[in-house]
Symmetry: C2
Subunit: 266 residues, 2 copies
Amino acid sequence: MTDKAGRLVIIGGAEAKDHDPIILEEAANLVEERLLIITTATQEPKEAGEEYDRIFSKLGVPEVKALHINSRADAAYKDYVEQIEKADGVFFTGGNQLRITSLLGGSRVCDAIKRGYKNGKVIIGTSAGAAVMSRLMVVTGESDENAKQGALDLALGLGFLDNVIIDQHFSQRGRLGRLLTGLAHNPALLGVGIDENTAIIVTENTFEVIGSGTVTIVDCSQVKTTNISNLLPDEALTLTNVKLHILSKRYGFNLDRKKVILPQDQ
Amino acid sequence: MTDKAGRLVIIGGAEAKDHDPIILEEAANLVEERLLIITTATQEPKEAGEEYDRIFSKLGVPEVKALHINSRADAAYKDYVEQIEKADGVFFTGGNQLRITSLLGGSRVCDAIKRGYKNGKVIIGTSAGAAVMSRLMVVTGESDENAKQGALDLALGLGFLDNVIIDQHFSQRGRLGRLLTGLAHNPALLGVGIDENTAIIVTENTFEVIGSGTVTIVDCSQVKTTNISNLLPDEALTLTNVKLHILSKRYGFNLDRKKVILPQDQ
């Protein structure tokens, strides 16, 4: 047990699984021995559990097991808490992020996962499992739409990462509009839009991008003009002087200083 | 005949036609007497011509006529040139922008349209008819994809507007990625992404937004880091320190000074 916080691997969904699984490979390398697959987000927990068990085992994780937590009662179950305490990492599958937060939020299982993260364990999540990583998360919202009043619903996530809003399937589903809407309401937060088959690996206050797509950082701290407080439902947003960073693999970001980190060989 | 350049109405496609046609109504108001519908972009010129004839007539334009220019020979036809010289404005329908530029580019008809614009006439275009407005235009490109090498093809447009790249159906088709790719290659240009049922009305070096969506201005002049020159086909782009302005109706922009213009009552 160390005092150093662990790693987060936040995947934008649709990561390659059998052919060239660059992201899951890197995630697997971070897990020392035991990985638990948490299938709470999905309505097909058995299939999802088996699939990720197979892949992570193939990628060399010595001990993989699916944990099907499907109720608040499950999330208080002592045996599950103990299993989490013994694991070196957890993996949240995709599905519906509200299932994760509504079933796990504030539970003993969730506390155990958080304690583990604070003590150096790795937390991996894809799609819905990525959304829950931040304190404030996108519950639902419109894809391929402009920024407008009511473009998304926000709720509390599990909160491993402060001061950001994560969005996933970002370029593939045209989600800039809804992320901007979320940030117009919360300009102190940083927007982090992660593409499919792309991930960030967070170590303390910095992250590095891996995978084939981009990570879009949306920084609204310097916004000069906004009309958000005057809008009726569905009315389009104005937001000026937004700063954007598009990052591909090997580029990084310092979340506290809001600065891009270049690849080490540059 | 005046020495003052005319107006451009650049519509992001899918503008409302029968119910609450806010954009076409404003466009109609700018046409004094005679409007020609140029159907070159579409494979269904008759239908498109009839539809816009009906709508603009209903909106009060005294004389509307479709001009079906479907070949380079048509584009050199003296009678068409004369009709354009007598018109107060032209409207380019949607379809394929490369049909417009490949059939009209450098033609006598095109010269007549440009002369008209320089002398105060109005040029209206939607979708493909919007793309051709700038000197450099998007020919084809990927929607709902991240910024990456090869995300779009560029060619010369008709060139009514310098120093910008127009993209249309912008939020609805998730086109930030391809526009950023175009700008990474041409950072001196300003990206102008126009949503559906949204338009800009350009008067000299400024424009104002009308319609229900947003216009996304992408300014890469302050970009600090890019990897565009090192990328293989399909590899993801890095582009840091991009400035973004999201503008809704009544907001404007000065293209020379790259500054947002607030609504007059603010």
